[in-house]
């Protein structure tokens, strides 16, 4: 009985909570409690930062600015205009979110280093504004006399009341973050972070996910900033300086980027770090820098990562049992008006001086298995990337089931019923096979913040994913991380993931590569069965013994141009095709 009662309790979590209760009791001085309240404030800041840096994988350097903006709004509105706490708190939450929404358009689509530096520029501008706009901000001196928190007519005293309010908010905002990140949404962010291309191809709106996490993190930073200024009672440009950002970044890296417990651990440790390095006096930031450097080198997943690794090594956990499989709901297949499910008309793509695709035109008809062949570098994968919206073609038209998809983002094309697999396997290694497929089920239901985030959605997606893994013969590895799986198994999981989207058109990029003969035969059987059920397939392949009996039609590319199209027999014997594969000399010998 006691065993069952205790089994639901995570001993590490229980230990952490006890420490958090005992800590402020042990350091029960005004100064000790103030530090503990600051630790809670930074924990909120860091939890927010984890959305964008930990989960979305974008190194933002303007979150110190969001924090400072929250602080300034509370400071100015409270000290100068006499607004009450509920109003200033709401303003401090809103202002950073508005700023984040404004700057998101140019900066959010930038890749890592561009993004980091662009956000740093925003921080610099805001710091300049705070220093120079003296009439409002008080300039370099700032504004003193920020009122304390007043709730329901009661002034919140320093010491324990502040600690309780702050840590109450830590708990509430932590639970909120957990609710957002716990299910499919958090997993989708993981896919996006590890592999944006795969995420887009699954129909995940990467731009929207990034935008949502950026705004969420700005919200948390603004709330933390408001609490900060209520605690220290003055506001000055120091709140906007790079130090606040570095403190947050260091806490996130030291604690652990994606774990809420890491946010709390990092904040509590680093707020108290200057106490332990008192001999450095004002230069304790040197210690911050060194701790950050040491952590990034020695423990890239933070202290919590170290603890989790150690626990896994000492007491390896058995993977949880696989869920029961569930069939997919019946898909509403779009009607195909023109007779062609995919129609290419003069598609071109140029990379610098290389014409990767040159006026490629052909149609793919419903239910057929079209083989796309051509020597290495002939443009096959580029064509698939153009069809799926990973690349934007320079010229020509692509229609999918009659819809012009020119310039359409990848996730919208995926939502039209186009799924693909990748030549160079794009699964998330540390995630289980089941969850890799389950994300696609969430994506098929248009996963976004507020939809598909609950536990039920996760359970349903996993059950459906289990059914798909059974269908491709990979059920036995469902609960294992993808990283350690055999090549052929990974290919099957990619196919299951693509099928999870219930596509009308499936593009397979070298599905037989690396498979042995029996695996190839098995794959060919499965693909034929899929085509039999009404799915249209485009198969890129070099392996002719695999492709010739499978394909109903072949198209051959060479140097970006279509050089042959027709039945497998005819194309395989076509002189141009033979020449493209073997070079003119040998081709002549073969023909002779």
């Amino acid at each position: 009985m006691t065993g069952r009662l205790l089994s639901g309790i995570n001993p590490a979590l229980a230990f952490g909570l006890v420490v958090l209760v005992v800590w402020p009791m042990a350091f029960d001085t005004p100064y000790g409690l103030r530090l503990f309240a600051l630790a809670g404030i930074y924990a909120i800041f860091v939890m927010g930062y984890q959305f964008v840096f930990g989960h979305a994988g974008a190194l933002s350097l303007c979150h110190g600015t969001f924090f400072g903006l929250g602080a300034y709004f509370t400071g100015i509105l409270g000290a100068k205009f006499g607004w009450g706490f509920p109003a200033t708190f709401a303003a401090s939450a809103l202002a950073p979110v508005v700023l984040a929404a404004i700057v998101a358009a140019p900066v959010l689509r930038l890749e890592s280093h561009y993004f980091a530096l662009a956000t740093l520029g925003i921080a610099q501008v805001m710091l300049l504004v705070a220093i120079k706009w003296e009439a409002v901000t008080g300039g370099a001196n700032g504004i003193a006399g920020v009122p304390p928190i007043v709730l329901f007519g009661m002034t919140l005293a320093r010491g324990w009341p502040t600690v309780l309010i702050v840590w109450g908010l830590v708990a509430a905002l932590g639970l909120a973050a957990r609710a957002v990140l716990g299910g499919l949404y958090g997993h989708a962010l993981h896919v996006m972070r590890e592999n944006p291309t795969a995420a887009m191809s699954l129909g995940l709106d990467v731009a929207r996910l990034r935008f949502e996490t950026f705004l969420l993190s700005a919200l948390y930073a603004g709330l933390a900033g408001a609490l900060y200024v209520h605690t220290i009672r003055v506001i000055s440009p120091e709140a906007l300086e790079f130090h606040a950002m570095v403190a947050c970044l260091t806490m996130t890296v030291v604690g652990g980027r994606t774990r809420l417990a890491g946010a709390i651990l990092g904040a509590v440790l680093l707020i108290h770090l200057p106490e332990w390095f008192r001999f450095l006096e004002h230069y304790y930031l040197i210690a911050y820098g060194l701790v950050l450097l040491a952590t990034i080198i020695v423990a890239p997943n933070g202290l919590l990562g170290l603890v989790e690794d150690a626990r896994r090594r000492l007491a390896p956990e058995a993977p949880p049992p696989a869920p029961f499989a569930m069939p997919l709901p019946a898909a509403a297949r779009p009607t195909v008006p023109t007779g062609a499910i995919l129609s290419l008309d003069g598609v071109g793509k140029r990379f610098g001086g290389l014409q990767a695709l040159d006026a490629v035109s052909f149609d793919v008809r419903p239910g057929e298995i079209l083989g796309l062949i051509g020597p290495n570098g002939s443009g096959k994968t580029t064509l698939v990337n153009c069809i799926t919206g990973i690349y934007t073609p320079d010229g020509g038209g692509i229609r999918i089931a009659g819809t012009d998809v020119g310039g359409m983002p990848a996730h919208e094309i995926a939502r039209l019923g186009v799924a693909r697999t990748f030549q160079n396997l794009n699964l998330v290694d540390e995630m289980s096979a089941l969850d890799n497929v389950a994300i696609a089920r969430g994506a098929a239901r248009h996963l976004a913040l507020g939809t598909q985030t609950g536990a039920t959605a996760m359970a349903l997606a996993r059950a459906e994913a289990m059914g798909l893994l059974e269908a491709v013969g990979a059920a036995e590895v469902a609960m294992r991380p993808c990283g350690g799986l055999a090549y052929g198994t990974k290919r099957r999981i990619e196919i299951a993931r693509a099928l999870a989207l219930q596509p009308t058109l499936l593009l397979l990029d070298e599905p037989a590569a690396g498979l042995n003969e029996s695996e190839q035969a098995d794959l060919a059987q499965r693909l034929k069965a899929l085509a039999g059920s009404g799915l249209t397939l485009v198969v890129i392949e070099h392996n002719m013994p695999f492709l010739l009996p499978l394909a109903t039609r072949l198209v051959c590319l060479d140097h970006g141009q279509k050089i042959a199209e027709g039945s497998p027999r005819d194309v395989a014997r076509n002189a141009k095709v033979v020449e493209a594969y073997l070079g003119p000399q040998e081709a002549a010998e073969v023909v002779a």
Binding site: G121, L128, L285, I286, G289, I297
Partner: protein, 312 residues
Amino acid sequence: MLTLQLLANGLALGAAYALCALGFVLVLNATGAVNFTQGDMVMAGGFAAIATAAMLAPLWPGAVPGLVVLPVVTAGMAVLGVIFSLFAYFPLKSRPPVATIISTIALGIVFQNAANAIWGPEPRAAPPLLDASLVRFGELAIPKQSLAVIVVAAALIAGQHLLFSRTPLGRKMRATAQDRTMAAAIGIDVNAMIALTFALATALAGAAGALLSNTFFVTPSDGTNYIVKAYIAVTIGGWGSIAGAVAGALLIALFEVIFPALPLIVPALFGSDALGWLFSQTAASILLYAVVLAILFFRPQGLFGELVQRRA
């Protein structure tokens, strides 16, 4: 007249920005890593110049000229660059690029606070390259320092160009920047080339600091401004383009100097003081950054750059 004087100032500032941006691009190309400390290296160069001048003072009758200090600073900074790479880059070279950004941010913080601990937060000035006099061309009077900075920076940039285009060592460094695997395959010691690139980049930043800190002073927190300027220069010039970075640096420096002075240059256009707030250093910085955001939005490949797409 005024315009020409401003032009000289702008070019001097731009030349120093260019040295900083140039080093940033060299490391970026060689390692794929963003060196966030590049701005703090400019700051470090400024303080190194002050310290070196103080050390040489007993050996020199009168004030120590910057031209004597500069080679010492540049050499010292090159050594610092190698040591820096041993901590900030080499332990992390097989990690995602963001790890290097964080490690260089970390070391930047260490440098800033170490400088603060040693020299304090007050602005300080290094000695001028030659002296503080003006050079007169008829009615035109230009500080000798500005001209000297332009000449020295131009010489350093030309030196870097000659190193890369004319010497076997430079060719090896370029090969490393182009394709590390390939360079290693043909027997180039890639790690040595990368360490050398860090040495060169840090030396250029240090020279920029020594050149700037006479006219523009130096404080420990200057680095952030310089890294942002280097970034803007590289963004305008096209990510990874060496010539683009230099051109971008000159453009932004000229803008920073000329824009706040517009009411002085063409007073007829701005009769009243109503627009005074617009023509300030702060407004120039904000406007410059707004322009960069617009560039990023409409031309992510930079003004002169070509769009590079990742392979799926």
